[in-house]
Symmetry: C2
Subunit: 261 residues, 2 copies
């Protein structure tokens, strides 16, 4: 997505893309971080903060139910105990519309170089707990899925705490600068070292606010191969999480059984 | 290097390359894993195992002293407490010939796919302790250096235990198959996530035994940029570990201060 400052427009775009994914046969859809709002100011997200079960989450739940698909709902600004700060929260809804899991972003982005300056900690309160959830699949077994958000990607220890998982998801809004330098590299590294699929949905394009994000939403397989990618713009990246491929990689190179530290 | 089964020839090659590096102004030289022996059989290394201070280590120490350079001596098969198995040990000697540090490889490579089969654990006893050492530099301050060996590269938790370091070294002998798939990716990821230089010396070429290694010895900077690389064959990869560059990266993106898990 290339989200705008208008929430209603973003929600409509999200549903349109989810319908497209469902039509391609997707059982799980991942939205990018801040899918519901890329604001003009950092503090814009405070204006739409909501409690658990709030309107954006309800929209996601209804979307999931309407289109019979599991939705990993990018992130929603969730009310926190601290005035002036929200949690950057990923909520997951099953095809029956029920909440499956919730993860609050742990690592908050800070970056300063030339004109570029970001300080998530000014408006976001960090979470503390890694979350792994089981997603329903038509094949039967739950898809063991580790939730993470954007800047979390730079911290391998988060993923080691979640391992073993079949799938890591990374809803994101990487900047153009850091994305160009590190996005693909870190997604592929997490897939290889944890021998699992990595699915990353990113904001990607020039937003109406002038900010530019890197995009390159992609699915990476457990050997580090990019199975599908969308460089920029709105769209759907579709692929298969293949349990046999995971088993094959872990059997030929049993690195996960070699962990000792 | 493209080491052979003959130890004396390998040592002579190592010294020739160290002289070349010293002539380019290098203060530290890193040799690849198994620089002293790429045997015909896995068990060949047992025949040349030595105690601390043994002949290969003495050769390295004298080399360091003769050419006034710090040598991170790839690996030497070190006598272990267990019959039939050695430690895969990296020894470090300062320009005065004194031993600075020693690291025993912790993670042992196992791989099986088609005709390719490797099982280091059959002949190697694993180490247990990460090692960080200070290397002397002409500029004054010690270069805080984390030691690791080849397959260790797949385990990010080892490097997180050593962090913060200025430099990670990875003497290696990656296979052609796994090297092509993951070598550059994992070296660059370790550099980016730990915001330090990564220097990796690898066996690279077709050995007289028929085995083929991936090579691509390289120096990577803390932003993940490859500063120098040698795809294959014998040779020297030379570059600068720049403290100002480390500081610049850590100041613009203070990720190491954001670790909480």
């Amino acid at each position: 997505m290339v989200s705008a400052p208008e929430v209603a427009a973003n929600l409509a775009t999200a549903e349109r893309l989810i319908i497209e994914a469902a039509a391609e046969g997707a059982e799980v859809a991942l939205l990018p971080e801040y899918f519901c709002l890329m604001g003009r100011r950092d503090t814009d997200k405070l204006d739409i903060k909501e409690a658990p079960g709030g309107p954006i989450q309800t929209y996601l739940a209804e979307c999931a139910r309407r289109h019979r698909i599991t939705i990993i709902g990018g992130t929603v600004p969730m009310i926190s105990a601290k005035a002036g700060r929200v949690l950057n929260t990923c909520t997951v809804f099953g095809p029956d519309g029920a909440l499956i899991a919730r993860y609050d972003k742990i690592h908050l982005f800070g970056f300063k170089r030339g004109d570029e300056k970001f300080d998530e900690a000014a408006t976001i309160l960090p979470g503390r707990t890694p979350v792994v959830c089981g997603l329903p699949t038509a094949a039967g077994p739950l898809l063991r899925t580790g939730l993470s958000i954007c800047y979390d990607l730079r911290f391998p220890e988060l993923y080691r705490q979640m391992s073993p998982v079949d799938l890591i998801v990374v809803p994101s809004a990487f900047t153009y600068t850091t994305g160009q330098a590190h996005w693909e590299l870190l997604l592929r590294a997490r897939a290889v070292e944890n021998q699992c699929y990595v699915l990353a949905a990113a904001q990607g394009g020039t937003h109406t606010t002038g900010r530019r994000t890197w995009g390159h939403s992609m699915l990476v397989d457990p050997w580090g191969e990019i199975k599908a990618v969308l460089p920029e713009g709105e769209g759907v990246v579709c692929g298969i999480v293949d349990a046999a491929r995971i088993a094959e990689v872990r059997s030929s190179l049993p690195a996960l059984t070699h962990r000792v530290l």
